[in-house]
């Protein structure tokens, strides 16, 4: 899992990535020095859980991906089956090409299969 994240972090503009379970527990992470791992994990867990709760409340099914664009950064949360892949990026990153890398990392995580915490 870590090697998948390490490879993803080599993409230009990617500042960090982590995998967390549907309950918000961190499975693996690879975060650059400029970010706090605990902060990213707490934020990601909050976004994943709140969004799921919100959608369920209105009878909508689970989501495949959340893309969050802020004025100084971007974040993508991708459903990988048993867990979520969270990627934190620079604001200048073009989501199209990086999206392909994220999707391929998510596919490899799906192939890892069972996740034990």
């Amino acid at each position: 899992m870590r090697s998948i994240l390490r490879r993803l972090n080599d993409v230009v503009g990617v500042k960090g990535s982590l995998v967390l379970t549907r309950d918000g527990i961190v499975v693996a992470s690879h975060i650059s020095k400029s970010l706090s791992e605990d902060l990213v994990a707490a934020m990601a867990s909050n976004v994943v859980l709140s969004t799921r709760r919100n959608l369920e409340k209105y009878g909508m099914r689970a989501y495949a991906r959340i893309t969050l664009v802020a004025s100084h950064g971007k974040m993508v949360f991708t459903d990988t089956g048993p867990a979520f892949l969270v990627v934190v990026m620079d604001r200048n990153v073009e989501l199209g090409p990086v999206g392909i890398e994220i999707e391929s990392a998510a596919m490899r995580i799906r192939q890892v299969g069972e996740i034990r915490v």
Partner: protein, 385 residues
């Protein structure tokens, strides 16, 4: 190149130019700039992108074009400066490198470079000045208290290291002016006048400030409290346009000086609901009240969709603020049944529920064009509408 191809390219460019003259929008500028890049006219593309960004500072596409056009020119310089940082680091090299990152719009890298410089040369004022400038620029753009607090800390440090740094005094004064700490603002402007007694714009401003103060005396307040209050209300205590400045406004500041014509945006958002693929569209004000909406009546009710958009936008905005990535611009949620896009514009929230054949990037472009058409300058007013 064959004559036929040249003629085709020329026709293409002149069609895009006349479209831009007819109906200036972010996509019209973007189309022309991208076509110019593919024709090899990178400098002209940069000029078009910059002109577009002056009119539509929110456009991501134009920002990308500008970045692409500049990156080619600046990559060599970045490589050389990075090399210098490794071999013979000096504050000047770090400052130049941070400056290039800023020019490219990479605030994070500029801040990181400044931080590295501050760790190596703690008695040099330049890295703190860079941090202060960037944080102030961010505060003007997003109105987030944390940026104001960090800007103040960095700029105060500059004035401690070098009490004669005019720029730092002026930036500090601007920061205090924006947050309503007028006495502190006056104090730093006095320092500016002590160092440069002939600064006429500062003299004029001090005179105005004196008159205003005579009518309304105010006590000194805790800066953090003031900054937090500004974040809460989302509006600066005093207008940015009135302040005398050394610097030309950054794109973000241009953004903060424009406001949305809510009435015409309401019509546009309701109209967007009839676009193929859009199932629901909604426009909410700062308090989550529905201003306009359009729904196909097959899914969520207007109240339900409004509540969903409010909570999604709240969660996403909170996440971006906590991560120090600024204020929320947009969030997209892809579900098997369709997608939700929530965008924030000057305190307004736009929500769209859509599905195939409409794609998220196309919808975002339509939304940006709609919002851009309803922007107008807010001269002489407090920033964020």
């Amino acid at each position: 190149m064959k004559i036929g191809e040249k003629l085709k390219r020329w026709r293409d460019l002149s069609r895009l130019r006349s479209r831009l003259r007819r109906d200036a929008s972010p996509s019209a500028y973007g189309d022309l700039a991208e076509r110019l890049i593919s024709a090899g006219s990178v400098e002209e593309a940069l000029a078009v992108a910059e002109e577009g960004l002056r009119a539509f500072p929110d456009s991501e596409r134009l920002a990308q074009v500008r970045l692409f056009s500049k990156r080619g020119r600046l990559t060599g310089q970045i490589r050389r400066l990075r090399d210098d940082v490794l071999r013979r680091p000096t504050p000047v090299v770090y400052t130049q490198l941070a400056g290039i990152y800023r020019e490219l719009g990479s605030h994070d890298e500029a801040l990181q470079t400044a931080q590295e410089c501050a760790e190596r040369f703690p008695l040099n004022e330049n890295p703190y000045l860079i941090q202060g400038e960037i944080r102030l620029e961010r505060f003007l753009l997003d109105v987030i208290a944390r940026d104001a607090i960090l800007a103040e800390q960095a700029l105060r440090r500059v004035t401690r290291i070098n009490g004669h740094n005019v720029k730092a005094h002026l930036l500090l004064a601007e920061l205090y002016w924006l947050t309503g700490a007028v006495s502190a603002c006056r104090r730093h402007l006095r320092s500016v006048l002590t160092i440069t007694p002939t600064a006429r714009d500062v003299q004029d401003f001090m005179r105005q400030l004196g008159q205003a103060d005579a009518q309304q005396p105010e006590a000194e307040e805790d800066f953090e409290e003031l900054a937090k209050r500004i974040e809460e209300i989302g509006t600066f205590a005093n207008a940015t346009t009135e302040f005398p400045g050394l610097r030309s406004p950054a794109p973000g500041e241009v953004r903060s000086r424009t406001r949305v014509d809510v009435d015409s945006l309401k019509l546009e958002i309701a109209e967007l609901g009839h676009t193929e693929g859009v199932r629901s569209s909604i426009l909410l004000d700062k308090d989550g009240e529905i201003l306009a909406d359009c729904t196909d009546g097959m899914g969520l009710t207007r109240k339900q969709f409004g509540d969903l958009v409010t909570s999604v936008s709240g969660t996403a905005d909170d996440a971006s603020r906590r991560m120090d990535t600024g204020a929320l611009v947009r969030v997209e949620i892809e579900t098997p049944a369709g997608s939700i896009m929530v965008a924030r514009v000057r305190g307004l929230t736009i929500g769209m529920l859509f599905a195939e054949p409409l794609r998220a990037d196309r919808l975002w472009e339509i939304l940006q064009d709609s919002v851009a058409r309803n922007m107008s300058a807010a001269d002489r007013e407090g920033a964020h509408a």
